[in-house]
Amino acid sequence: MAEYGAERYGPSADVPPDYRVAGRHAMMPAANHDEIARFNFLANLVKYVSTRVLPGTAVAYQNRAEPAFEDKHGHKPRDRREVRKAMEGDPYYKIWSALRLNTMEMRQQAGRSVVLRQLDELNAAAKSLNDDKPTLQLDPSVEIPRYIGSVDNHLMPGSYYTELVADDVSPAANYDVGIFVTTQGLFGLHTDGAGHGLVKWLADNHPDLKINRILDIGCGLGHNSVPVALGFPDAEMYAVDVAAPMLRYGHARAQDLGATNLIFKQGNAEALDFPDQHFDLIYSTMFVHETSYKALHRIMAECRRLLRPGGLHVHLEQPPFHGMSPFEQFLRDWDAYYNNEPFWSTVHSLQMTDVMAKVGFDRASLFETKVTAVVDETIFPKAGDFDYGRGCVWYTFGAQAEAA
């Protein structure tokens, strides 16, 4: 290691792992040598832009944009909107933005080009693993909500739900095959660090909670459903999502990873057809920022209806804006404006405790905390904030329903 290690190169030797260390499973699209090299390049590009280019935006702000704003207005920017006014024309901010935007777009192109050339094989593989099992419950009457259908979230062409052919899994396959580019493996071998983190948090904080029925809302392809299903092998677990391709792929993947107690069900988390007080644990990971103000309230009300007395609901999210400097808030808002995360800004300005109280949760039952990713540290030795707004520690909120 010496020749290329930190002894000679210092921080320059801190680089992403090779794509090949990422976890595989039966549904993972096959990538050839050059496709893997493309993911390696893009992972390095993300790392370069976030560690070498991004920090300069703070310098541009302090040395140029903030003084110019103060000259013009007689005071420093007071909130993130004024920081935006000060910064949006700044040449350094513009080149960082343009690079970041291209990185996102290139990651999508790279993933789709791998997936679409083997679309028929992938759809056939899902079909054979799913094999009309009762644990996959699709419902074509479920509509795509406006907050998902208006723009394609995080610049993902066709979003989670678009089917290019019948029984399509391509949106999920693209999501899965390319996620390494943005996570660099820091969310774990199977991008399941949040799910493992939640299992650990439950063991540490609620060791006596009886958990027989679990619900994961906005499960996507189940990256963070599988570790929870495996962590509670005797529980019956539902994972719901509006997007059929995510569920088809997720179910096939979960079968291969051994999570056979996990039922993937198509449904809208705003109104689900489970009986009242059905679940002991309801949770979500990286979900609420992709909804809307009204939907969020309905989803929280639905959690309240579905929790049994003494049951727990927990949501892992990006950190809220409270307590951050206006400049940091402004940087985090980038996703809201340019990465097609239209609810991002609003959701991070909200007090989640107020939202939960509004739908009827007793204030005394509410909590806000942090959950840390649990990943295989032999391969990914350190966790940290590696790409702005995407740390390995999540802001976590929820409530424990009053006991009967």
């Binding site: 792992p17 040598h33 493309r38 370069y48 513009k94 291209n102 679309l119 062409p157």
Partner: protein
């Protein structure tokens, strides 16, 4: 037979108006093309690296061997560092822009004018 146009669909845009950050859309377009070319060169470099390492290791060389090649942790480290150095090289101008922001220098012309003081006397 697949019914979809793979090349076209792989490149398709996401729904939602695309922002333009740079003042001239033509420059924005050139940046996208340049980054794509940069990526493809990186891919070629990594492939060549694989070929060279395999040639050194084996007497024969096959397509399957290239696709099955798994770098060791140390080799992967070295390759990723190549990517970082390569990126540093192609984004030199961005780094230098930041350095200039941190410490602004006078232009040579301005210095020249100072150095020439007294010349016409």
């Amino acid at each position: 037979m697949s019914t979809i146009d793979v090349f076209k669909l792989a490149n398709t845009r996401a729904k939602g108006k695309r922002p333009n950050f740079l003042d001239d859309p033509a420059v924005e377009r050139v940046l996208s093309i340049t980054l794509a070319v940069a990526g493809e060169l990186a891919v070629t470099r990594e492939r060549l690296d694989t070929v060279e390492r395999l040639l050194a290791k084996n007497d024969l060389l096959s397509q399957a061997a290239i696709d099955a090649y798994e770098p060791s942790e140390q080799e992967a480290q070295q390759r990723a560092m190549w990517h970082q150095e390569y990126l540093a090289r192609i984004f030199r101008i961005v780094q230098q822009e930041l350095e200039a922001l941190e410490r602004s220098d006078p232009s040579s012309e301005d210095v020249g004018a100072t150095l020439a003081e007294g010349e016409s006397d």
